[in-house]
């Protein structure tokens, strides 16, 4: 009743994210979301079957934003080894910035991530695909010497090897003064492996 705009899934997701931001994952309720939109909570249930589905959709939206922010680095011009370092650095910077800038929001999304492992798995697949794209280009360019058949497994290995620098479970460690050096050392290790 507050506005005359149509109630869309998108508007509900936006309001849900705002409510999560304000109240945190433990206290955010569907009633809060409805109140923020000026509608009854029954209307929210018209667009999302359950509260869990709503939170899952918010999680998915948030993760997709990361994917989209990274795509330019995956598709950047230049040699593949530099692109890989650029992409990994961008991922680390993005996550570290989010964790440092608003630790509470980070904690909120960590809870959501824990609730929606299937969504997170798909997200990981997308990130690994971006890495795989860079590795394939590097293989064509002759910069990377990993056998072509191993590329998918290697892309995932690169993702896993850098886990500590993008997995939110480690966000507490990113504020350490030497985390940048530790990250650089792992990237160096990975680059050596790919060029071996």
């Amino acid at each position: 009743m507050a506005t005359t705009e149509t109630l869309t899934a998108e508007r509900i997701l936006e309001a849900t994210e705002e409510v999560l931001r304000r109240y945190g994952p433990a206290k955010a309720t569907v009633v809060d979301v409805a109140r923020a939109l000026g509608v009854s909570h029954g209307s929210v249930y018209r667009h999302f079957r359950t509260k869990a589905a709503l939170r899952e959709a918010v999680t998915e939206r948030w993760l997709r934003r990361t994917i989209d922010a990274l795509r330019p680095y995956a598709d950047a011009p230049g040699p593949a080894d530099e692109r890989l370092t650029g992409w990994l650095t961008a991922l680390f910077a993005l996550k570290r910035e989010k964790a440092g800038g608003d630790p509470e929001l980070m904690a909120t999304f960590q809870v959501l991530i824990g609730e929606n492992s299937a969504v997170v798995d798909r997200h990981e697949d997308h990130l690994v695909e971006q890495i795989a794209g860079i590795l394939a280009a590097g293989h064509r360019e002759g910069v990377f010497t990993v056998p072509e058949a191993d590329l998918p497994a290697t892309a995932r290995a690169v993702f896993h090897a850098t886990d500590r620098f993008h997995n939110p479970a480690h966000s507490a460690e990113w504020s350490a003064p030497d985390s940048g050096a530790a990250f650089a050392a792992v990237v160096t290790l990975v680059q050596r492996a790919l060029k071996a």
Copy 2:
């Protein structure tokens, strides 16, 4: 009063571990520990200034056991590259076995680990030292080509790159059917880097 044995720090630690195992980290109290030993809780405070100090000591003991279990692999005979793979595999197997065999106990120690980051940092230093020892041997043998000056940073990078396979924060992922393959892929990556 239950026994005539002397009350030692060691006996208290053993009882504390048992109480933690039985009740979990949230419900285990100093009174429980005293009860298990048949003494008053005041006597426990004679050996440990606070409950936090007691829990820290238990954490330290538990982590030291891991260090001791791994030392044979660090000091094993044979070429350094094989020793490194053996050591990493032993670490992963050890952690996975503990996590799979008794998930609740694992969750308990994850809580303790979260409470005692200083102890954990020292533990990590010990593990990194074992890796560094293997890398140094590999350098002498000519198996690893990493510059000698980089060895300490590289040892830590190897530890970080394999984080996902020994950090308890990831224990939920270790039961996945492809975790063994993912681990092998990362070890392969690390070996390629060291021999590059």
